[in-house]
């Protein structure tokens, strides 16, 4: 009784603020629990333990590393990333520049030591390479692996694999037999039928589907008549691809429902964008371009507050309840 009386005295807006603060937005991706549904997308702030740690400390639920391969690679010549201001987007052809798994182990170890929930994105040109990388890292105390079957910026491997249902199935199946750690499969939007590919991944035994990677794109400078990117071709990310990412998550959810957790990526800049992905069917999201361009601390705080406010206004008590809301 005493408590009730005290409560009544607290002002309405103060109550809302408190509720938002206390509101829990932790969520599960399969068996993994993360403190909130926001994760860092692979390739953004993802090549050093210190930037990954910083992004986590800034308030994310987990981080995905830059895609790591069997050997060190310098990636494509510069320019390899630039902004397209008018459509609030980026184009990049970084092309899997990475130190190789043997060297990157140190960075992962640092992350583990600092208790940063880390998903390691890995890639290879074929099953053997994927296995090598996985074998070289699977003893670490990480959340799981994200298989990058979808990078458009390399000559071999990458998105070629991601458009081939059989390759997807057999790689996922082979890797799954090697580890108990969750395996997420990241899909490319540059396919005729994403459901088919996702189906192969699910049949192979993957633990979550991540969509989407960047869209095949290019920019030419008309003054010098040169493609601007050093690699000429690149991948589009940012606001321009949000309606496309939403569509793919919606289609995937329509097909799989609760059968497999979906992780939405592409063009998230605001809390509203996250909610849109959740309603479309995502269980969690990854944010790339937006976090890179801004101060991670600021943008993550703003996004998180907005999500909580939305949940309050719409009477949601958990993230999971929002998932798939647009299908009802």
């Amino acid at each position: 009784m005493n408590l009730v009386i005290k409560r009544a005295k607290v002002s309405k807006t103060f109550q809302v603020a408190i509720i938002c603060l206390l509101m829990s937005i932790e969520t599960f991706i399969g068996s993994i629990e993360i403190r909130n549904p926001l994760m860092l997308a692979s390739g953004v702030l993802g090549t050093t333990y210190s930037t990954l740690q910083r992004a986590y400390k800034a308030g994310l639920g987990a981080v995905i590393t830059k895609s790591i391969g069997p050997r060190s690679r310098s990636g494509n010549p510069n320019p390899s990333v630039f902004a397209l201001h008018e459509i609030r987007s980026l184009i990049n052809s970084v092309g899997l520049a990475n130190p190789g798994y043997q060297t990157f182990r140190q960075d992962i170890e640092q992350l583990v030591k600092s208790e940063t929930p880390t998903v390691v994105s890995i890639f290879g040109e074929n099953q053997t390479e994927f296995s090598e990388v996985l074998d070289g890292l699977k003893d670490l105390n990480i959340l799981g692996f994200e298989l990058n079957l979808s990078c458009p910026n390399t000559e071999k491997g990458g998105s070629q694999i991601g458009t081939d249902t059989e390759a997807v199935y057999s790689i996922v199946k082979a890797l799954k037999s090697k580890t108990n750690l969750p395996l997420w499969v990241k899909l490319t939007p540059n396919v005729s039928d994403i459901i088919e590919i996702a189906d192969a991944a699910v049949k192979g035994g993957c633990d979550a589907i991540v969509a989407i990677n960047t869209l095949k794109a290019m920019v030419i400078d008309i003054q010098t008549k040169q493609p601007i990117l050093g690699f000429k071709r690149g991948g589009l990310s940012g606001s321009a691809i949000k309606p496309i990412g939403i569509r793919y998550i919606y289609d995937l959810y329509e097909n799989f429902r609760e059968k497999i957790p979906l992780i939405g990526v592409g063009g998230i800049y605001k809390g509203e964008d996250v909610v849109e992905y959740l309603l479309a069917g995502a269980t969690a999201v990854e944010i790339g371009s937006a976090i890179g361009v801004a101060y991670p601390e600021n943008i993550i705080r703003t996004i998180t507050m907005k999500i909580k406010k939305y949940m309050k206004e719409h009477d949601y008590s958990s993230i999971g309840e929002i998932t798939g809301g647009a299908h009802r």
């Binding site: 210190s50 830059k66 390899s80 630039f82 397209l84 130190p99 060297t103 010098t224 890179g292």
Partner: protein
């Protein structure tokens, strides 16, 4: 509409309107920026695209009437191709990126600008700004090079020195101009004698900066040291890729720097120790 800075977008193509040899293997280029921009701050940089060849970070040496001045030192393929560009050719720029040097307003201090090589480019713009500041303050410029023919902006600084606008301390390894020896030695001598608080503004090879940092730490009268960590690999220039980041803070040199102050430098454990390559691998400095 005059913009505060350029939008962060694809390279904006600028015509080369002037090109002059500055010193050995080093040229000054003047670029006409087709978008009206308000100003550039010393320490900021651009990503410079040499079409069809490469893109890399370059400091801003001057910016007036929408003409951008840069100074390019020959390093490898990219800068070599750039040095072959002539008046009328086009180069792409992105930026202006990064946090600038910060000069205290109202406090009377000695401004010690210390650098070498292409590190002199941001120090040139800083000098220009300092000598235009209302209150006259003492400005000392320490420049080091192998020999006289490699002292960047030698004539420019010497002229300002002669006019009493600043005191120019040139140092060469071979004594062909100014003090014979490293600028670190010259600087330390100077510090022992100088009175009142001093601030360092440093841009040059990271090893040299680390040595200067260790010297500065010994003197209480050095109230701040600002250093340009511009000796690192950059890809995007605006914070997305993380290839330029330092440990363990995760600061991106391109966004959170390139200028860091004493407090920040103390937290950067890899300062002067190692840097990341374009693969993300570490390399000892």
């Amino acid at each position: 509409m005059i913009k505060q800075t350029l939008p962060n977008t694809k390279p904006i193509m600028c015509k080369i309107v002037d090109k002059e040899e500055e010193c050995e293997d080093t040229y000054t280029f003047l670029l006409e920026v087709p978008v009206e921009v308000k100003s550039a701050k010393p320490g900021q940089f651009i990503m410079l695209w040499v079409p069809g060849v490469d893109e890399f970070p370059i400091g801003i040496a001057g910016f007036e009437n929408n003409i951008l001045e840069i100074g390019i030192a020959k390093m490898g393929e990219g800068t070599e191709a750039l040095l072959k560009k002539e008046i009328g050719d086009y180069l792409g720029i992105r930026g202006f990126y990064g946090k600038p040097f910060k000069t205290p307003k109202k406090v009377k201090v000695n401004h010690l600008l210390i650098g070498g090589g292409f590190g002199m480019t941001p120090l040139k713009l800083l000098t220009t700004n300092l000598i235009h500041q209302e209150e006259k303050q003492e400005i000392h410029v320490f420049e080091g090079a192998r020999n006289k023919s490699r002292l960047m902006y030698l004539k420019w600084f010497q002229h300002l020195h002669d006019e009493g606008k600043l005191i120019f301390h040139a140092c060469t390894d071979d004594g062909s101009y100014g003090y014979k020896g490293f600028p670190t030695v010259d600087l330390e001598k100077f510090l022992q004698e100088v009175e009142g608080p001093s601030i360092f503004y440093v841009a040059g090879p990271e090893r040299m900066m680390k040595a200067i940092f260790d010297i500065g730490k010994k003197y209480d009268k050095v109230i701040d040291m600002q250093m340009s960590l511009a000796d690192r690999y950059m890809r995007c220039g605006f914070g997305v890729c993380s290839y330029c980041a330092v440990d363990p803070t995760g600061w991106r040199i391109c966004v959170d720097g390139p200028i860091f102050n004493t407090k920040q430098l103390e937290q950067i454990t890899d300062f002067g120790v190692y840097k990341r390559l374009e693969t993300g691998e570490k390399e000892r400095i």
